[in-house]
């Protein structure tokens, strides 16, 4: 009878209210934390997409430039072959035409084909041009090469995974809050039981949040 009176005392009600306030505050913090993680995950995804657009735009431009040079280089190369054939002929007029093509036409054709048609590193043994290497060099020389959308996506995925696990902690806290509220309106032994259940859920929720936070802070998510 004495225990029952103690459980129904205003002091006990005040204690329950204080615990409810603490759990409410913890829940709010957990939701804020989860929301921050979700926001960062979205930011990383957004950044990854922006980087992907930049990288793709840069790659498109590199391809365009390389094939513009390649078309000019092909024109230069075929005219050079024609000039060689003319110069090698027995006809003096053709020889003169070949020389003039070499002297006046080829340098002008070579200009838009540079550096693909001028730099020996792009010359292949069979007389063709190494367009793939030219593209690699263009991409390596671009500032956009430093951008890594996949890395942003990986970080975003890790944040989203953490968000998923944190939500479970918030769920435990919400359940705890409910049981504590029941304890506040209950009486006697029922009050004690529901209070303990609420505290157990609170402990489990806080532990869960701390474990998830530690696992992601120390191991970057690890097996989670």
């Amino acid at each position: 009878m004495q225990t029952q009176n103690r459980l129904d005392s205003p002091r006990w009600e005040l204690a329950t209210a204080i615990v409810i306030a603490i759990v409410s505050l913890t829940t709010a913090l957990a939701v804020w934390w989860t929301s921050t993680i979700a926001s960062r995950a979205a930011d990383y995804s957004r950044q990854g997409l922006i980087d992907a657009i930049k990288v793709q735009a840069g790659a498109n431009e590199d391809w365009r430039k390389a094939y513009e040079e390649a078309a000019s280089a092909a024109r230069f190369s075929t005219y050079a072959a024609e000039a060689e054939a003319l110069v090698a002929s027995a006809d003096p007029a053709a020889q003169a035409r070949g020389e003039n093509i070499r002297t006046y036409l080829l340098p002008n054709l070579q200009l838009p084909a540079a550096p693909l048609a001028t730099d020996p590193v792009y010359a292949l043994p069979n007389g063709a041009y190494d367009i793939a290497r030219r593209i690699e060099d263009l991409q390596a020389g671009s500032d956009l090469a430093a951008l890594d959308p996949e890395a942003s996506f990986t970080r975003g995925d890790r944040m989203a995974s953490q968000q998923r696990w944190l939500v479970i902690g918030s769920v435990l806290l919400a359940i705890s809050l409910f049981w504590l509220a029941v304890a506040q309106v209950s009486h006697a032994r029922r009050r004690a039981l529901t209070f303990l259940v609420g505290l157990a859920f609170f402990g489990a929720g806080v532990s869960w949040l701390l474990i998830v936070g530690a696992v992601y802070a120390l191991f970057g998510g690890g097996a989670l």
Partner: protein
């Protein structure tokens, strides 16, 4: 003096309130789990949406690349065919000139034929359709396998587009699930409301009505959630 008329007292007058309380607890737990499921579905749909957009960007870039490469190779092939035909025409012309006894003119025409042939030969070196064994003609006078080249050229873009479609479908599926969970959560609010009413009204019949109505809604939402989970 007769006894006052007494109304029969129910065995447990608090039972519907207790039922409402227990159902509220169950609904709270269910709503919490549902919120977690909704978050998970939302994350999955966002990730699939992002992947879909990323693959669309990559696919459009690949299409542009394939267009540039294809234009270059087929322009080269066109020039090559033209030079081959010009060389042949000059050779035929030289033969006609020789048959007419115009040997000096024929010599000049043969030089032009040699120049055109030299251009064509250089074109063969530059063209992947003649230099790559996968597409190069098996016989000297046959054509390269342009269809095989086009198939290989468009394969990466087709692969990216099919992956993009798969990601878009996945996004759609998770998005529908996420929306359905939100709807279930919204309807659950009605169940909460009914259980709350059951706690506050005094009439037993009304308590029973509200508890049973909320229970019907709760069971309906459980079935709907199960259907969403397995869909």
């Amino acid at each position: 003096m007769s006894d006052p008329v007494s109304t029969p007292t129910p065995r447990n007058p608090e039972r519907w309130k207790t039922a409402a309380l227990m159902l509220t607890i169950a609904t709270t737990v269910f709503a919490s789990i549902l919120a977690a499921l909704q978050t998970d579905a939302d994350i999955r749909s966002s990730t699939a949406n992002r992947d879909s957009q990323y693959l669309a960007i990559a696919g459009s870039g690949e299409l542009q690349r394939a267009g540039l490469v294809g234009n270059y190779e087929f322009a080269l092939l066109g020039d090559l065919f033209k030079d081959m035909q010009v060389g042949t025409v000059y050779e035929l012309t030289a033969l006609e000139q020789q048959s007419r006894g115009e040997d000096r003119l024929a010599e000049g025409t043969l030089v032009l034929a040699a120049a055109a042939t030299a251009r064509a030969e250089r074109g063969r070196v530059l063209s992947i359709l003649y230099s790559d064994p996968r597409y190069a003609p098996a016989e000297a006078d046959s054509f390269p396998d342009a269809q095989a080249y086009l198939d290989d050229l468009s394969a990466p873009a087709k692969d990216l587009v099919s992956r993009q479609n798969a990601a878009a479908d996945l996004y759609q599926r998770w998005s529908v699930k996420s929306d359905a969970y939100v709807t279930v959560l919204t309807v659950l609010a009605v169940a909460f409301f009914l259980f709350g009413l059951a706690q506050t009204v005094q009439a037993l019949q009304l308590q029973r009505f509200f508890v049973l109505s909320g229970l019907v809604i709760l069971i309906g939402m459980l079935i709907w959630t199960a259907a969403i989970l397995v869909s």
